[in-house]
Amino acid sequence: MKLAATLMIQGTSSHVGKSVLVTGLCRVFARRGLKVAPFKGQNMAPNSYITADGGELGGAQAIQAEAAMTEPLVEMNPILLKPVTDTIAEVIVMGRSQGKLAAKEYQEFKGEMGLSVVKEALKRLREQFDLVIIEGAGSPAEVNLRAEDIVNMTVAHIADAPVLLVGDIDPGGVFAYIVGTLELLTPEERARIKGLIINKFRGNIELLKPGLKELEEITGVPVMGVVPYLSLDIPEEDTVPWSPAASGDVEIGIMYLPHISNFTDFHPLRRIPGVSLRYIRPGQPFGRLDALMVPGSKNIAADLCSLQDSKDAIKNLGVPVVGIGEGYAMLAREILVGGQKIPGLGLIDGSVELFPLLPRRAAARIVADKEWLADLAGLDIEGYQVQGVRGNREPFCLIGEEADGVAAPGVWGTSLHGLFDNDQVALAFINYLRRRKGLDPASLTIQEDPYEALADALEKALDMEAISRLVGGGN
């Protein structure tokens, strides 16, 4: 069987923008008629996506699949680590949770079977697709960690992939990072690096050009693109996009919990004109807000603890509050979790119980009918659950037969993630906030497909001819 061609993107350090480049390249090649799949062997990220058959993979790979115009598969991210504390993570292998492992336990697991999991997943993808675009993690030149690598050069070798090395010019030192990375690689590894990409460039390209020429001379590797600092509406892999007090008609604050997870729940609200989202760290002033969102959490006890000093401020905000997933549970007076009782924020009476369930996509029907939900009662919506929450008398919706969530005056919650992906729900909520302020209702903007814009920008910034040659089986 003919296996798919491969292309790998590695970075000189974390946060150089690899995942967005992979997303864009997925679309570039997909719209040229190739069947493209993204791949990242191991991903550490708080956001996940649930596939149709209940498998869980990194949110970034799901987004990349969407850009590639294909269904997300657990093979695209066979190992997902969702951080719980500094040293513990929930480990998801081929879509299924293996429980919470300490760093050391995970190292053992990884040593035993990490590589074979990655190999097998990659093989399956290569059998089904024309091109697999692989994303590395961190830096490939951590020479002390070479032996345990299952994400960078080890994968490049297995996949026989040409590698593009990406440096981020924004914080400075990009030339040194690139030159030093190449110096620390072994000759075989170095031979895999076929091109360099300078990412997040702003300023005058003419000032940069002499530097690029010198870089090519020193490294002997061609620069295959300078990508400008793009501000597209595409979520970053694992960082919370930090929006400095932008101002809109409607300002929505999202509690930036220390163990925040699935925070992308609220991002669809940005599609409505006049909405600005702002992350608020515990202890930070809230500023002017029209609504407060409490997102999911990987560690509800620790996160509630960090909100201790903000409790009164949250109660006295006087604006609508919406909690999703664990964020919904936090709204209660008391939360039962694993036989323990934790005091919550107390915005709704009574206690709720967290219980584990298999992550699943879920269809729900809205049953609450007060305030902004008046016109939505009876509406069928979709989303997914990663954690069960039960215990309220005034439910928000029905998931199957089961009542879920809460609808109290000014406070709403549900365990259904992806709530605001439902356009009608997002629009009704924002227009409720607008009415409260005496503003005219807004409408959804039919946005251009953001992946098209990204792909266009990359086609302009990258030497696509050279990159296509690499993919065309040049090796």
Binding site: E142, V143, G172, G173, F175, A176, Y177, I218, G283, G287
Partner: protein, 478 residues
């Protein structure tokens, strides 16, 4: 002849400023006369010195070094104003007309050199800090901040990388590779900053780094949440919103101004900008005004009168803008001079040396919000007052006056008290319909002093101090 030691980073935000502050404190503890220096600083946050404005981090470093900062410690301060525009502060003074484009060294280098020379005459050791990466090969000809200044005095350089971001080894090796020979010769060692995890795992990497980078690793500094050593611009002690300031407090830049630390703590509050008022400014831009203490009453009065500030002040006070006079600033406000308060003042030497405890007696204005609070401070040369309600009592005796929106006092260090400071700022915010600040209140000086000590202690543990001392001894010799 002063000695030098310079910290350069492989990129921005590797934590140089904090390390420099820690080294300042460490050498200060050793009895050395040490001063910080950063030729070129691009920062939103500034710090007020008696000779003008510098980058916040140099102000903090000077505090750590136990000295008064001066404008020479950061002769070029670039304050971005957004979208390509910035304000240039040269040796403490705003230069509206200075263009720093083109061949930088022509305009900037002589300024940097002059400041560094002055510092070198006064101090035994200058801890210098670079900016960004020293090997932006496309901008080499414009480098003032890094090797440009290191080569001036042949300062030994420690190259710092942030290991938290990944790629630190590569960045150090690559930076070394891109230096010119004479630049490379100045580098004495590497420091890996913000390390978390198991030092055992790192060991083999350090060996390879020394081999490939050609310099010893002179320290691995842990990531310490308790020291909050994660924030280049603010040192973690002073969180700032980084955004535009919502509260502007103006301080008259009086000739021979003294006790400028009185109002420095104000900028510790989020969203507060403390601005030096020089000539021909529109006072209505400010949410509150401070007339500081001065060593020269006559010249100060002349300065104010020449700018027509007394007339502006009078109308602002009528409108309710809070005005604070401290020390001789209080005398200036009184009937004998500007007549902005209906009080008689009578100069007299300090009544009591050392720290005193005062209790807020004012019942109105912003100070009234802290009625009854006991605050610590010290009394400078001040004034006996009569004719208005006392602002404070000290051992039952009245101190200072509170009249409408005007406060006058001889008590220095008032705003070191976190709650009093917060009450003042929240009063100003309320006046602008801004929500009150609710974040943690940082208690002033003592907390910072303790943090500097902790930082120095950490550096003693994690750096190879004897090797660094050897490097320092080599300064000037390249």
């Amino acid at each position: 002849m002063a000695k030098y030691l310079m910290l350069q980073g492989v990129a921005s935000n590797v934590g140089k400023s904090v390390l420099a502050a820690g080294l300042c404190r460490l050498f200060h503890q050793e009895g050395c006369k040490v001063a910080p220096f950063k030729a070129w600083n691009m920062a939103l946050n500034s710090y007020m010195t008696p000779t003008g404005e510098i980058g916040r981090s140099q102000g903090i470093q000077a505090e750590a070094a136990g000295i008064l900062p001066t404008a020479d410690m950061n002769p070029l301060l670039i304050k971005p104003r957004g979208e390509g525009e910035s304000q240039v502060v040269v040796q403490g003074r705003v230069q509206e007309d200075l263009r720093l484009g083109g061949p930088l060294s022509e305009t900037a280098m002589p300024i940097v050199q002059a400041s560094l020379e002055r510092l070198s005459k006064e101090y035994d050791l200058i801890i210098m800090e670079g900016a960004g990466s020293p090997v932006e090969i496309n901008l080499r000809h414009r480098d003032v901040a890094n090797m440009g200044v290191a080569l001036l005095v042949k300062a030994p350089v420690l190259l710092v990388a942030d290991i938290d971001r990944g790629g630190a080894l590569a960045a150090l090796v690559g930076t070394m590779r891109l230096f010119r020979p004479e630049e490379q010769a100045l580098v004495g060692g590497f420091i890996l900053n913000k390390f978390r995890g198991d030092a055992g795992i790192l060991k083999p990497a350090l060996r390879i780094l020394e081999e490939r980078g050609g310099r010893p690793v002179l320290g691995v500094v842990p990531y310490r949440h308790d020291l909050l050593i994660d924030d280049e611009d603010s040192l973690g002690l002073e969180r700032t919103s980084g955004g535009p300031s919502s509260i502007k407090i103006g301080v008259f830049c009086l000739p021979y101004m003294s006790n400028y630390t009185d109002f420095v703590p104000l900028s510790r509050e989020e969203g507060v900008a403390v601005h030096y008022i020089e000539r021909k400014e529109d006072l209505s831009d400010f949410d509150a005004l401070i007339i500081p203490d001065t060593e020269n009453l006559t010249e100060s009065l002349q300065f104010l009168a020449a700018q027509d500030y007394p007339r502006q002040l009078a109308s602002l006070i009528k409108g309710g803008t809070p005005v604070i006079g401290i020390g001789r600033g209080l005398i200036i406000l009184g009937q004998d001079y500007l007549g902005l308060m209906p009080i008689k003042t009578e100069s007299h030497p300090p009544r009591q040396a050392g720290t005193v405890q005062a209790q807020v007696a004012a019942e109105e204005g912003w100070l009234g919000r802290a009625f009854g609070r006991r605050v610590k401070g010290y009394l400078g040369s001040g004034a006996k007052t009569s004719g208005a309600a006392p602002a404070f009592t000290i051992n039952g005796d009245p101190e200072g006056v509170q009249f409408g929106s005007v406060l006058g006092t001889s008590l220095h260090g008032l705003f070191e008290d976190g709650r009093l400071r917060r009450a003042f700022i929240n009063y100003l915010r309320e006046g602008k319909n801004l929500p009150p600040l609710t974040g943690p209140i940082l208690e002033g000086g003592q907390l910072r002093q303790e943090a500097y000590d902790l930082l120095a202690e950490e550096l003693r543990r994690s750096l190879n101090i004897p090797a660094i001392l050897d490097l320092v001894e080599r300064s000037g010799r390249g």
